[in-house]
């Protein structure tokens, strides 16, 4: 039994459906959930004589993706035909890009980008009378509505080393694409699709092992599970002295099983050649400027800005940056110049922890009644000890239910913090008297024993007293 340790080498191929109005090469409107075959024309049905005409906006989105990933944008790129027969491919070839893609190189986070290119999506093939698995069905039905939807294919270098890293990185890519506004990036609906190229190699080796391509991982969970399963399969194979065969694999989330997709046909030979019906895309200065002008602040950049500008912790900054609505809520609250002003980190915590915890699943910040400036003044009041943390949470509950002004709620419900106007001292005194043995133990140096006394004070004051102030008074009156 060899003791060799293996290292995963993973690269991803991501297909992104671009949210243009029309298809890649014809004027058919993109539609989700339109009745089958109601969004077609001679071009996307591959009728005899029809010709493709490239969609300007798809190229624009492609350039934005290239800019976001720091790619080198090709001044001239070429469409190729990828020839193969399948019922969801009406022309018998897919118009894609081959050796002259729109974008090359670049990186997102720690993962380098190999290329980004444009192509057209296939139609939908439904296998009649089957559980949805291909094998064993007699006939299939083709719906060409999806056929011709613009796709950007993003291919990474094999820089990923674990299933977890793969899904984490894909999340970063997704928020980046969402921020760009070029796609719905919804994995369940297939507007973001991910295949993984997976291989193992002995730790320390710089050679690449034989890779397999794993398809159909249509959620982040499945991506982790699928890659993990394939890595296990490969490691078992290698440990048993076997060989990994280069092939395309299909991950079945239900069974967790991995099956080979190799058809009875011999290996594919796509016979790529330059698409004669389309001329090379030349990126004009004007197109470039338009793409640059359309670039928003990207999550990674926003995270570092939030750290530097507001001194937030790395975690808080990323959480806010990767969830636009949280980030926007936070920055709006901060700029509401509430008086007293909330400290940035405290405000961030309230947004990330208390606020999100109180939003029911699926409920978005924007549906809730809380206004950013309301949260700002609430956090301001808590920070200034004008109300206790506990009271602050009660106020937040009200805000989420019916919105409104924190100060008003505080007064209406008498949640204002008790300063030591004597009332608090006497409540403390009563509490000490009511817990003699606890008091005794505290006097004899057991600070932890103060619990029951504090508890009574808090009960008496319904949480309006400031915890720090209460324990100060207890210690004072106990003379410790």
């Amino acid at each position: 039994m060899s003791a060799v340790q293996y290292e995963p080498v993973i690269g991803l191929e991501i297909h992104v459906q671009l949210s243009t109005r029309t298809k890649m090469f014809c004027g058919c409107e993109l539609s989700f959930g339109a009745p089958p075959n109601t969004r077609t024309c001679p071009v996307c049905l591959g009728l005899p004589g029809a010709l493709p005409a490239g969609n300007e906006q798809a190229v624009h989105f492609g350039l934005m993706i290239g800019l976001a990933l720091g790619c080198e944008l090709a001044p001239r790129s070429v469409f190729h035909r990828k020839n193969y027969f399948y019922p969801d491919l009406p022309k018998g070839y897919q118009i894609s890009q081959y050796d002259e893609p729109l974008c090359r190189g670049g990186a997102l986070g720690e993962v380098r980008i190999h290329r980004v290119h444009l192509e057209e999506d296939a139609a939908k093939l439904v296998h009649v009378g089957s559980s949805g698995r291909i094998h064993g069905s007699d006939a299939s039905v083709v719906d060409f509505n999806r056929g011709g939807t613009p796709l950007a294919e993003i291919v990474t270098e094999p820089d990923i080393r674990s299933p977890e890293q793969a899904s984490e990185w894909l999340k970063l890519l997704r928020v980046t694409l969402r921020r760009l506004g070029v796609s719905d990036v919804n994995m369940e609906e297939g507007s973001l699709r991910c295949d993984a190229n997976i291989s193992l190699r002995p730790v320390g080796s710089d050679q690449l092992g034989v890779k397999t391509e794993l398809k159909n991982m249509n959620s982040f969970r499945f991506i982790e599970r699928g890659i993990r399963a394939e890595l296990a399969r490969q490691e078992k194979l290698l440990r048993e002295g076997g060989q990994v065969v280069q092939e395309t694999l299909h991950f079945d989330p239900a069974s967790g099983r991995i099956t080979s997709l190799r058809s009875k046909e011999e290996a594919h030979d796509y016979r790529y050649f330059p698409e004669p019906d389309l001329l090379p895309i030349a990126i004009s200065q004007q197109m470039l400027e338009r793409a640059q002008a359309a670039m928003p602040e990207l999550p990674a950049a926003r995270a570092s800005r939030l750290q530097e500008q507001h001194g937030l912790s790395v975690e808080s900054a990323q959480l806010l940056a990767f969830r636009d609505e949280l980030g926007d809520f936070f920055e709006n609250a901060l700029s509401a110049d509430a008086d007293p002003a909330p400290p940035a980190q405290a405000l961030a915590n309230w947004v990330i922890v208390d606020l999100t915890a109180r939003l029911s699943d699926g409920q978005s910040l924007t549906d809730s009644q809380v206004a950013p400036d309301a949260l700002a003044s609430l956090v301001g009041l808590v920070a200034a000890k004008r109300i206790s943390v506990g009271a602050g949470r009660q106020v937040l509950d009200r805000l989420i239910e019916q919105g409104g002004e924190p100060l008003a709620i505080v007064e209406a419900e008498g949640l204002g913090a008790l300063a030591d106007d004597g009332e608090l001292s006497s409540i403390v005194a009563e509490a000490i008297a009511a817990n003699p043995d606890a008091a005794e133990r505290v006097r004899s140096g057991n600070a932890k024993a103060v619990g029951p006394i504090v508890g009574q004070v808090m009960r008496e004051t319904q949480g309006r007293a400031d915890g720090g102030e209460v324990s100060r008074l207890i210690m004072e009156q106990l003379g410790v």
């Binding site: 058919c28 009745p35 070429v78």
Partner: protein, 96 residues
């Protein structure tokens, strides 16, 4: 001379069934044509760029504006086989 296996391989790629008679004929005819075509192998084409398009221009892209689609009954009008609900193109299973 192209051999039988090459003919069969290419016919598979082209999804074209051939009868034994056609396979034989194809071997000879393709070989004959390729012999003539092979003459371009004699030319010195060092550093000559391939031309994909003769007219030197780059692609005029289309504005992202919708055009009317075909009514479904028209789209399916010429289909050799249609699904029972009349909504889609019916094809034999990809893997029978």
């Amino acid at each position: 001379m192209i051999d039988r296996d090459e003919v069969l391989h290419v016919a598979r790629l082209a999804r074209l069934a051939l009868s034994e008679r056609e396979i034989e004929a194809m071997r000879h005819e393709l070989s004959a044509v390729l012999d003539h075509v092979a003459k371009i192998g004699e030319l010195d084409l060092q550093g000559v760029p391939p031309s994909t398009h003769v007219v030197e221009m780059t692609g005029a892209l289309r504005p992202d504006e919708p055009r009317p689609c075909l009514p479904r009954e028209v789209a399916l009008g010429s289909a050799p086989a249609v699904s029972e609900d009349g909504a889609g193109f019916l094809v034999p299973s990809p893997q029978a």
